[in-house]
Symmetry: C2
Subunit: 274 residues, 2 copies
Amino acid sequence: MPSVPQESGQRGWLIPIGGAEGKRKDSVILKRFVALCGGEAAKILVIPTASQLDETGPAYVELFEEMDARALCMPVETREQCFEEQIVAKLDVATGIFMTGGNQLRLSTILGGTPVARAIRRRHAEGVPVAGTSAGAAIMSEHMIAGGRSGPSPRESGVELAPGLGLTNRAIVDQHFSQRGRMGRLLSALSFNPFICGLGIDENTAAFINADGVFEVVGRGTVTVIDPSGLRHSSMSRVRKAQAVTLTDLRLHVLAEGARYDLEKREALVTGDG
Amino acid sequence: MPSVPQESGQRGWLIPIGGAEGKRKDSVILKRFVALCGGEAAKILVIPTASQLDETGPAYVELFEEMDARALCMPVETREQCFEEQIVAKLDVATGIFMTGGNQLRLSTILGGTPVARAIRRRHAEGVPVAGTSAGAAIMSEHMIAGGRSGPSPRESGVELAPGLGLTNRAIVDQHFSQRGRMGRLLSALSFNPFICGLGIDENTAAFINADGVFEVVGRGTVTVIDPSGLRHSSMSRVRKAQAVTLTDLRLHVLAEGARYDLEKREALVTGDG
């Protein structure tokens, strides 16, 4: 369960990005994130833990600074570091949190259950926007897609799940969606328990989810929404190893820039001009 | 429009196969096709026109003969040949018609509108099963997917359509579906006019469509059904070149072996054991 916001507060924006987002000064996704964090008053904390490349975090810091925000990279490589008070203190003053790409299992195994993870959840509940790209997007949901097969058919053993940060329990996110053919693993994830919505986010595309659970698509690709709430039949419990699975009566929305979706009401909100 | 069956007759089975089907003597898809053609009494006409390889047609003849059917390859390479009476005469005695893979534009440009195309439609309306794999599956529908982009997002210019043989006007078929990431081009095709159902057929998988428009899935992959009849919003008419398209409120079914779907009623028919 996501942390419960204070009475006075409102949950922060949650911004899963499908990876490979534009990294120029005028790039629409990151620029909009910076604006939500306070623009020139923003203090953005970059968490590069998913990545094993030393340059990943500093590159985002440089980019956010080019956009006139302040930014700081917080390299966390071990669980031990996640218990250090000065690291948690940095989260307490941040007006925005950004998690880079890499391997989401590094995020879950290093941050999971530590004071850092708790602080991210608390700050988000207090209103701080949290963005993440690729692995940094996957980690956001309560149940996270850690790996799986490519291709559009759901299969037994088609997906590996792991606990995520739990910043939302309304959706499960998959990224590089079009580019890596991940419909099947997202469907496999939903077949286990269809109470959540599946969001397949393309590269250079983001879902800007507001405090009410309504998101807007920003970027060049699409967000594929699979709403399994009407699922009438799933053969997942009966199929043999790696076999294809039957799933009927799912609702599918493919949303390009400007289109919105209400994760609470499970409803696409598109105007005639959307 | 498909040819109208004689009062006495019933339309033949239509069997689109997603390509790369098993080609051993005991392969489930082709064996079932042979049985529908009459088993040992079958006279199957193989149309290898989609392929530019000389061995494609004879290989299927050999395979059908190993299954104890009679089979004959009808190499048609030019439109002129499609006007020869002895070629049409071969269709008149066939109890089954099989179209090989290759390039569906060869099928449509060589056979389209000729006496051979008309004879295939007539024989199918009279009750003769028609199977086709890959390009041979694509050509079956009234509106055929001739090409397009891979990836799951529908896009402006995301698909190239061409007239097919029109053996069904209930569905549009795409093949090698999982294997080549074709959700986007199938969605693009449906966005132009959502009155038909989209069938995305995986490799080594087939939809056996009966005279009533109910099909059963046979094979190792899945048939993805996209039913656009509830489509509430499409931005296809407004987007710019190659841009992503918003499509909302589609119904999605992913059907594995044994699952059935009614193309008339737009309803998945899956029992508790399916």
